[in-house]
């Protein structure tokens, strides 16, 4: 990637890009909600790293503050969703018994 | 003024500058503006009709529009009318697109307050179309900006640009946002809802917008 003046390889962009690529594949391929959210977290970490390597620190700070918020929203939603689905499944599994 | 505008929309009367966005008044736009404002006034003063709904095997029923529903729908209708009126005057492509987006959302608002399933159904699908069509609308405007470096209709009219496909994209966006003919099928569901004067505004806005779009597409 980018080679700095002092000769050492800048690792942050490299790691961030790695995180983003892996995270992208991970979010798509995983099917459980929590797995997906974990991978999304991973992806967001990469995004923040990339923003920092662009030297926009205020954006990075804002993103790192907002990120837990959106994660919490997703988590609460998924929790409720799983609950609803479970209760529905329980409800519907009784129906064939009644049908018989 | 450039010949293009006067040979399409009639005499050129002047412009109102707001920075980069310049509203201009031609014969056509002045007439449309007056018409839209006039209808808005009429709609403001009109009480909604009591719709007679015939029942099979029973007495016919009168559909009333309740006061709170009337208030929100009248507000939406008036906003829609004012936006239509100013969309007739605007001289900037992106601004026009925004007027269209606003008209789209007020159209949804006019019908969304009716608590009937089929009306809400139609409103929902119409809303989806309005949202989808932001892509061609704003995208088309952005492509025109990229290609010519300007968004002002007055500037675009001065030079001949080859903008055929961008124009088609833009027109498709307009079609979606105001829902002309192919989508009247979906809108007719909405038009059957009670509250005549407000629903009339939907029709008025979309038809005036279509003509204005034809003018813009011919001009640029």
């Amino acid at each position: 990637m980018k080679v700095g003046e002092s000769g050492n390889v800048e690792l942050l962009p490299l790691v961030s890009i790695f995180c983003i690529v892996i995270g992208c594949i991970g979010v798509i391929l995983n099917t459980h909600y929590l797995d997906k959210i974990i991978m999304l977290e991973f992806l967001t970490g990469g995004l923040i790293g990339l923003i920092v390597s662009f030297y926009y620190l205020d954006v990075a700070i804002l993103t790192s503050i907002v990120e837990p918020v959106s994660t919490v929203i997703l988590l609460l939603g998924s929790l409720k969703y799983i609950y609803i689905k479970r209760s529905r499944r329980r409800y519907s599994s009784k129906l064939p018994v009644l049908g018989k | 003024m450039s010949l293009n505008i006067t040979s399409i929309a009639g005499k050129f009367y002047g412009y109102i500058p707001f920075g980069d966005i310049v509203l201009y008044v031609t014969e056509f736009s002045a007439i449309s503006f007056i018409v839209a404002i006039f209808f808005t006034l009429v709609v403001y003063f009109t009480k909604p009709e009591k719709q007679l709904e015939s029942q099979i095997g029973g007495f016919d029923t009168l559909n009333y529009v309740s006061l709170e529903e009337l208030k929100i729908r009248r507000l939406m209708a008036i906003l829609c009318g004012i936006c239509t009126a100013f969309a007739m005057l605007t001289g900037d492509l992106f601004n026009y697109a925004l007027f269209l987006a606003l008209i789209g959302i007020t159209n949804i608002g006019i019908v969304a307050a009716v608590k009937k399933e089929w009306v809400l159904n139609a409103a929902y699908y119409y809303g989806l179309i309005a949202m989808i069509s932001t892509l061609p609308l704003f995208g088309g405007a952005a492509l025109i900006l990229a290609k010519t470096g300007t968004l002002s209709i007055l500037e675009l009219a001065k030079k001949p640009y080859d903008l055929l496909f961008q124009k088609i994209l833009y027109a498709a966006g307009v079609v979606g946002e105001t829902g002309v003919a192919p989508f009247y099928a979906a809108k007719a569901e909405m038009f059957r809802a009670p509250g005549a004067p407000y629903i009339l505004m939907i029709h008025l806005s979309s038809l005036l917008i279509v003509i204005r779009t034809a003018e813009i597409l011919l001009t640029i």
């Binding site: 992208c24 798509i28 997906k36 967001t44 926009y56 804002l62 939603g77 | -």
Partner: protein, 84 residues
């Protein structure tokens, strides 16, 4: 300049793969899975904003995106409840 181009292309990859994931991804019948997949194109858009140095737009989009997610989750859950 190198990092700009690589970010841009990363954004493209995220956008296209994310869209493909939304459309064809595994278990896409589940609206919640689809919603989580939506986040990838959104991140792609963010990367493109970053590459173009539209930082204010980026900031707004980051804030707005979580609001959009909230609205969607509300809709999905309410719909699921009503269908239950």
């Amino acid at each position: 300049m190198d990092i700009v181009i690589s970010t841009l292309y990363l954004g493209y990859i995220l956008l296209i793969f994310g869209t493909l994931g939304v459309i064809l991804g595994p278990e896409r019948r589940d609206p919640f899975v689809r919603l989580l997949n939506i986040e990838i194109p959104a991140l792609g858009v963010m990367l493109i904003f970053l590459a173009y140095n539209h930082t204010l737009a980026l900031m707004t989009y980051i804030a707005i995106n979580s609001l959009i997610v909230l609205v969607f989750i509300r809709t999905i859950i309410r719909k699921e409840e009503l269908e239950a």
